[in-house]
Amino acid sequence: MSQIGLQMYTMRHVSGDRESFLNTLDRLVEIGIEDVQISVPAFMTCGELSEELRQRKMKADSVFCSTVRILDSIVQIRREAELLHTDVLRTDSIPAALRKDAAGYRQFASDLNRQGEALKKIGLAYMYHFHAFEFVSFGDIRGIDILLGETDPELVLFQPDVFWLTSAGTEPSDFLWRFANRARYMHVKDYAIRQLEGAIENVPSHFAPVGTGNLNWPGILKTAESIGIERFVIEQDIVEGDVFAAVKLSVDNLKKMGLS
C-alpha cells in the first residue's frame, strides 16, 4: 500500500469513455499511482471496474454513495465494497438546503450518525469530505464545529482537504489536530495565487500541484502524521496544462517530502 493516492475526479477530462478511462489507468500506473479514489464510471459495472483495477495491481480506497441514498442502498453498497475490496465509504457534501444555519448542520450531523451506524453494521467506515463552506460562522459556532462536535467518532470519519482548510482562513497544520483519530485519508493539492488587473489586493487563489504553491507542507505533513493519516490523496480539481504531468509533479514532490 502506498501513502499516496489519487482522486480520479482530477482525471475526469481524460476518462470520459471506456477506452480513454483504461488508457488513463495505464498511464497512472506508469506515474506510480496504485491507490485510487474512484466512483464507478457510468460506462462500466462495479465488477468490471474491479477487474480492470486488479489487472493493473491498482486498488480503490473506498466506495462512494450520496448521503441521501445510503440508508436505502445498504445491499448495493455492501456488494460494491466487497467487489472493490475496501472497508471505507465516502460521501458527498451536506445538502445545500441544510447549509444555511446551525439547525441544518445539527440535522445533518444526526443524519451522518444514523448513516454511519448502518454502515458500521456491514463493516464499513464512513467518511465525510468537507470543503470550505462548512467554516461559515453562525454567531459563535461554525458548521464544522457542529459536525465535529455532534457526530460520533466511532461512526463518522472525516477526509480533510488542506486547500479548503486554507481557503477558509485556518492554518491546516494547526486545524488538522481537530481530526485526531477521526481521519484516515486526506486530500492534498497546493494553493497558489495569480494576479489580476486592478487593485493589488485582487489575487484569486487557484489549485496547483503539491509543492508548487504556498501551503506549509512541512507543518501539514508533521501534523498529518501525528493524527494518524494513512493516505494522502492527490485531488487537483482544476488543472491547467497536462493533467498527467500535474499528477506526476504532485507524486514526485510528495515523495521528496518523505512519503512513500
Binding site: 463552506f133 460562522s137 477558509a168 485556518t170 492554518e171 495565487i193 487563489s205 504556498n214 501551503l215 506549509n216
Partner: protein
Amino acid sequence: MGISIQMYTLRDYMKTKSDLDAALARVAAIGYKTVQISIPPFLEVRDLQILLAAHGLRADSVMAPTAAIPEQLDPICQKAAILGTDTVRTDGIGHAYTGSADGFRRYAAILQEAGQKLRGRGLNFMYHNHAIEYTNFPEGTGMSILLGETDPDCVWFQPDVHHIAAAGLEPSQALLAFQGRCAYVHMQGYAIIPGEGFDPQVPRRTVPVGEGNLNWPGIVAACRQIGVRLYVVEQDFCIGDPFDEITQSYQALQKLGVADD
C-alpha cells in the same frame, strides 16, 4: 507594545476637517492612542499634528511613495519630525514589477535605495505587503525575493495577517520570515461567506480581530517572537458600523494579551 488603527478603515468618515475631527474623537474614546494616517489633502502636516494632539493621539509613521523617497528626503524628514515619528511607511508594489521574479528584484533594489537613504537620516523604513508578493515563481515567491535582496537593517516590513492567509500561507508560520525587521503588523480577521458549489474562490471578507477563522493565539505568539511592537488594526471593509468593528478589534487584541502602553 501598543495598538494602532490604520485610518483607511474609516476613510468614509474623514472627508472633511470636521469629520476627521469627529472620527479622531471617537477613535480616542475607544482607547486608541496611536493612529496610522496619511496627511489628508485638506490639511497641512502641522494642522494634522495639532488635530491629533488635541485628541491625545500620535501618528505611528509618515507615509511616502517609494519612488519619491530618494528626491524628497528633506520634506519627509520634516514631516516625520512634525508628527514625532521615526518611521516611514510606503505604498504597495505596482503591477509593473509583479509579473516576474526579475520585476521583484528590480523593486527590491528600489526599496533598498529608499531604505538606505532613510536609514542615513535616522529613520526606519517599512514596506506594507499584501498577498500579491506571494506570487510563485520558479525561484521562489516575490516575497522571498524582497526579503532576501534587501538589507534587514534598512528595509522593514509591515505584513497583514489577512492577506498572508489569502495567499495560502499560515500567518503564524509565515511571520517568522520577518524576524527582526517587522515592528508593525496589520491585524484584520478572515472569514468566509457562503458561496455557490465548490468554486475555489470562496468569497472571503475582512472581519474584526478575534472573529473568523485565523489562528489568533498562534499569530500573536509569532508577532512577539519576531519583535512586533505595534499591532495596527486595519479592516479593509466593514459590514457593520466601522466604529463598532474597530472597538471589537481593540478589545480582542487586549484579550489576546496585547497591551496598549
